[in-house]
Symmetry: C2
Subunit: 243 residues, 2 copies
């Protein structure tokens, strides 16, 4: 990866050889004031669709500027077809879960409202911006989509029947900690409980669903953000793109 520029920038623009990309005021400020790039400097661009492109600074202004795409430096590398469902709690932990899920290679991030979740609303735009920032940082070329907050019971009622759901809950002492015996599927999701866990009604419903694979995450109670990384690790290392 030594010929990939170090500064990576997400742009909402088609990328191809010779393409000019106009910069927003914020992007120009970041590249030219914060990072002090000048004309001819290299930046890696990605848009979540066309892989990563090396681009050269064509015009560097205080309030704007433009880059010209040179060559593709990495193809689009989408993660496995994996959703992460989690119950948002405190703001800082929610931000962390979106950051971690992006680094760990979730393709879609779905905040869900559970019986024990207090959050009435989330700032979807802010969480999506976190996912973009985490993609810039982790070297990825795919930006996971962050959904609006949805009720868990409705998500389960509309569940696509070919998608497996890995259900991690602290009430699962004795469940398997390995996904080695999980059924073979192309599409998966992981559901992480809120701090305080799921209600008994939710647990009973989840255990009765045919597409659910329960998983235990060890003898200690993990915070939701820790549990998200742990469950994503188990998935990627046995069914995902780490193998």
């Amino acid at each position: 990866m030594s010929d990939r520029p170090k500064i990576r920038l997400y742009v909402d623009h088609a990328l191809q050889a010779g393409q000019t990309v106009e910069l927003s005021r914020d992007q120009a400020n970041y590249l030219f004031n914060v990072m002090r790039l000048g004309q001819g400097a290299e930046v890696a661009l990605f848009n979540g669709r066309d892989g990563e492109w090396r681009a050269l600074v064509a015009e560097a202004g205080k309030r704007g500027g433009s880059l010209v795409c040179d060559a593709q430096t990495a193809p689009l590398m989408p993660p496995p077809d994996l959703w992460l469902l989690f119950a948002p709690i405190k703001k800082a932990r929610t931000d962390f879960i979106v950051e971690k899920a992006t680094e760990m290679g979730a393709a879609r991030i779905i905040p869900v409202q559970t019986d024990f979740t207090n959050a009435e609303r989330i700032r979807q735009d802010r969480l999506q911006a976190h996912a973009i920032e985490a993609t810039e940082q982790c070297g990825g070329t795919f930006v996971p989509e962050v959904s609006d907050l949805q009720r868990l019971d409705r998500v389960l009622a509309d569940w696509p029947e070919d998608r497996g759901l890995i259900f991690a809950d602290e009430g699962l002492a004795g469940a398997d900690t390995s996904l080695a015996a999980a059924p073979r599927r192309q599409s998966w999701a992981i559901l992480i409980g809120p701090e305080g866990g799921f209600s008994e009604a939710e647990r009973a419903r989840l255990r009765g669903l045919p597409f659910v694979t329960p998983i235990a995450l060890g003898p200690r109670i993990l915070r939701a953000d820790t549990a998200a990384v742990a469950a994503l690790t188990l998935f990627q290392a046995s069914l995902g793109d780490w193998v």
Copy 2:
């Protein structure tokens, strides 16, 4: 665990049936002002040595108070003999790594200074307090010891030869992501690199050491705190106390 009290408190005091435990001003404030417990209320106590004990409030004052131990509610459950070595970077991420390592069951946490680490010093007492708080929260009975900052090269020079070292680094594309083939040992450590990675000299040295098992953590670059949870997950799920 339904008969274990929900409020858990670490005390630096021997615990046995009938034992009276005097509370510090901070502890009394937490129990009686913040949590509003009164005489006779139940608290779970642990000291990292004697398991978890149910204790009853004997005296509740504004600036102090005391508890009396009733019965042991959980034995001491030490985690595997696993150290986590990490290079401290920003304060918030360092705090997170200590919290996560505690939840994930590291027995000892060792901040190390590497070629690319800027931290000259850490607040060991503050990090140890984070480990205690994380133990209170995760239901554990064992508090990992947080060491003072040490130079990685000296730690490696004094390495105990029977302890394996799992070395996770972003430069290891192509290394195994599984510990299935790791040699059988009782004592282990995990080393997580700083953001910016290890120097070439450090990498070369680590790869040449007979006790080192390199491990890859997937195709994306993980932040240090994400990498710590991911590596601890792989360990616990294949060699540790999750199996």
